[in-house]
Symmetry: C2
Amino acid sequence: MDKKEYILSVALELFGQKGFEGTSIRDIACKADVNIAMISYYFGSKEKMFQSIVENKASYLKEVFRELVNNTSLTEIEKIDLVIDHYVERIFAHPLFHHLLHRELSLNQRTQMHDRIIDILLRNIMVVKKIIESGIKNKIFRKVDPEITIATLIGTINQVLMSETMCRKLLQKDKDFKPYQSKKLKERIKVHLKQLMRAHLLLGNSNGE
Amino acid sequence: MDKKEYILSVALELFGQKGFEGTSIRDIACKADVNIAMISYYFGSKEKMFQSIVENKASYLKEVFRELVNNTSLTEIEKIDLVIDHYVERIFAHPLFHHLLHRELSLNQRTQMHDRIIDILLRNIMVVKKIIESGIKNKIFRKVDPEITIATLIGTINQVLMSETMCRKLLQKDKDFKPYQSKKLKERIKVHLKQLMRAHLLLGNSNGE
DNA sequence: ACAAATTAATTAAACGTTTGTTTAATATTA
DNA sequence: TAATATTAAACAAACGTTTAATTAATTTGT
């Protein structure tokens, strides 16, 4: 692997676990087994390295939802199902990065980075919002609150994966249980969210199981 | 106000906004207009002050849900409604404290504090879990996933209030809009969660509006 | 193809700040 | 007088960053 990328991956891991202020560049350099000066040499500063991580990783999650909204061969509820699948898969694939994003979102530090993250997240949120509004307009969905509904989608997954220890205690698993690596948990969340959204969104739903 | 309490309130505000590592005791002392040494004098250390904040504030939110589960004059869905009311009111009343709790939950720092916060949160979570399981047992609720359903409840509110800027952009409000002080938003979240939970939980629900 | 010149990568050490904490002296209150 | 509260100053340690020297890699001229 490219050395620069390797440093970024180590930095992501530590930032994700201990936060930006909670991680020193010495921590990163030590774990990546490089000299401290290499961080300034490669990235200019600690904060610019942080920005590199965000821009690097964010590029992965662009253009995923875009095609969804323009695909007319799918019903709105099928699109919602796909959004759930994509989103859950993404968070399970990059849990530390999403920890990083949402923690940064909850902080009043680094305004510029804060706004950048909002831009990144908002792009996909708007796609989902349009799907919901389309479903309402076509009288397939109930007149739900689109924005808060999206918060439910995103917030549910964040909440479950917020803390490994918390997740274990909530689900009453032993300490060997690794939430991020559990395919069962991933499917469980998908099933829950799909059932939840169908019950919440679909008109004339008698919930026959 | 008691000086010790005042320092704690200032510390809560700064920790809530900028995180534990992102806030220096000089920031706190300056904003509270006291000498730096007073923090050690009163609390012993920065971390012990943090613990004081958590224990102080946490005492407020004990014993709120306890009575709910033992009250047999209410149906399960009425209890869920009350849980939603209480929980939303609480977060809107102490937004910075809940920021603090959940951010600490997402960090792998201060294991002891981490476990303490989990204990605090889990107590109320278990009450809600029992309500849901009771509803399922009494064939009033569908056979939903109780644990992930709780994550939906908590996660939705966290998500909406995670960032003031994000909230404004999501709801397309101008910069004068203060999410934490908006009674309209508070009611909006309550209505959403109640409708969501009724559609999700109640058996034979035809969603007639 | 090969030595010379140039650029890039890496290092140990030091830089000046800021960090949390402590000290020892002073002021206030009981 | 004795206990408590408050202060300015200093503490060592850790912080992000820079420097200047050295090694490695690449490019160039012949």
